[in-house]
Symmetry: C2
Subunit: 394 residues, 2 copies
Amino acid sequence: MADLQDTVGAFLSRCTRGGGAGALAGLEWAAKDLFDVAGEVTGYGNPDWARTHPPAVADAPAVAAVLAAGARLLGKTKTVELAFGMTGENPWYGTPLNPRAPERFPGGSSCGSAAAVAAGLVDFALGSDTGGSVRIPASYCGLFGIRPSHGAISLAGACPLAPSLDTVGWFARDAALLSRVGSVLLPEGGAPAVAGPLLRPLEAWENAEAAVAEALAPALARLEATFGRACPIALAPEGLSTLQTAFRAIQSQEVWASLGGWVTATRPALGADVAARMAVARNLPAAEAEEGRLLRRRWQARLRPLLAGGAVLVLPTSPNFAPLLTASAADVQTVRETTLRVTAIAGLAGLPEVTLPAATAGGLPVGLSLIGGVGTDRALLALAVRAAQALGLA
Amino acid sequence: MADLQDTVGAFLSRCTRGGGAGALAGLEWAAKDLFDVAGEVTGYGNPDWARTHPPAVADAPAVAAVLAAGARLLGKTKTVELAFGMTGENPWYGTPLNPRAPERFPGGSSCGSAAAVAAGLVDFALGSDTGGSVRIPASYCGLFGIRPSHGAISLAGACPLAPSLDTVGWFARDAALLSRVGSVLLPEGGAPAVAGPLLRPLEAWENAEAAVAEALAPALARLEATFGRACPIALAPEGLSTLQTAFRAIQSQEVWASLGGWVTATRPALGADVAARMAVARNLPAAEAEEGRLLRRRWQARLRPLLAGGAVLVLPTSPNFAPLLTASAADVQTVRETTLRVTAIAGLAGLPEVTLPAATAGGLPVGLSLIGGVGTDRALLALAVRAAQALGLA
């Protein structure tokens, strides 16, 4: 550990803990710096947050579960400020390098966890995913990642962003380990199965850049050869942008509910992007969030029964490769919006999504996602192992 | 009863039975002449069958259940010879009139039951459905009809055609009565729900004549206004004709297994069409049926989990209006083939399908079908009641 060279700027702090017998014995890991680790200040990507919060008195249950399984914690990884961003930038602590594409963003908000795993500094890492914060960096950095069913894993001891959308997720370099970590964190028993068929949501594929859809096409074909033809389905004829709008409204309202008190009391220094988003959150008309929740209920009523019998959606995790660090603010904003359109599919419905590093084009990785019914997390991880074999990734 | 004028040639024989207290008290009904009614010869649409079979010693369980519910049986209705045909013709007993389109076929094989209900001679009637024998006459005659989940209702005391595909179905002029009969015949309790979403199988809509698809479009739009947008889905990119081929092969093999012994021993006089189909059945290579069963397993594996969570397929019941009685043999054969492509969707998967008289064009009725998951029969009938209200049919 002492000789761990953090060549990609993934870690915010080191704190060796654990390492013993258990299901994850012999493995090393890191936790995004929004999870409580007893005795450490949880920094949440912002110096004023760190300054105004005392050291955690206990481990977050998710952290405790991984430690109890014998894995050795090596430290806490950088997060986007207040986990409120998708590129992986942090104006205070620096942006971790994307080990697979150093001139590009690592993706966020779980940027440090992704970078640490992609660089081989740890075997796996915990992150959190509200609007794509595990799935997007996994796609950008060529990793396996999971956003579990909403509520499947306790968020106690994790800084809140938008509680009705927040989830605990994680990254690994292979599907077997992704699944093994799930066996420690996910609820046991009575889990519904994923039995197929594969469904290919047309809007999600149309939303992807042509180069991404082309790069993923052979992977989809290999999955079809193993699991049967994917049925093309139009899930959102009203347009995916309605999902994005609903997601943003719900998220904004909850962000202000979670963090507005602290912002008002502390008047923290915030990076320009997060400050702007926080202002939007503060001023969001309540009616917009109400409309968003109404759409979410409709979306859940459409998606959940569709997948309850074991069907699985297959779609591009992100509609683009990692953007260049030199991309204009306008381009980054466009990426953010087109990305939320697809990450909101599982996000609004509360469904588990596993992303696989299924393709590269010109050396840039891009993920292919599997979304299963509520509570199918363990089965979906097992399916991802088989899918990874079919894709030659395992 | 004595003054019942069978203006449409629906009945083969009269036999008044039942009529008392119960869930179906006060209603009159008829049974297709392939169901055993104690003391009566079950004729199965063929004089040699009638001649070579003694009177039934007991009521078929389905008949007994309806009688026990208090409905008054008025007689037995004509069936296509050996239930092996779709137009409703019977060369021995005459073809019942289609009360809604007297110059056109009533549809079959449950032609007499459909004609009797459509003409108002009875409130409801039992039929059977192997490849569309309830759904098609219901569509042609403007009736509500159901083909239940395979195996949901006992076929004991009913002449077999192709047992792995045969089902007991029924007709009514309104959805509420269709559902009420279901509450007597269908298994009780623990029934899965239908929760949506609606799925619009693209191939089934593309398979329909343009005039049928146009006539049904406003009905679909009204259902969408009530139940939410129907997701277009490509269920059979390999083509619906593969379903038809599989269905025909399985059916042919089982028809010969069911009836070949009798045909060989009795050398019955058969109408030209049925004689030709029986020759095909006799000579079917076993490998074709085997291939059909393989495709059926794949189709079930695709459809059942898709609908297990409550999703419902919505599709044209038949791809055409009732053909003219004067249609050429070649045209009738084409109708038969294009029809089997869609009736095989539920047929091969063993799924329940309810057809609603959702539209007419130029006075000709055509049905819109709802297909639910296995065992959702009661919920699907309840959904049909709500759908009928949305369509202004109730």
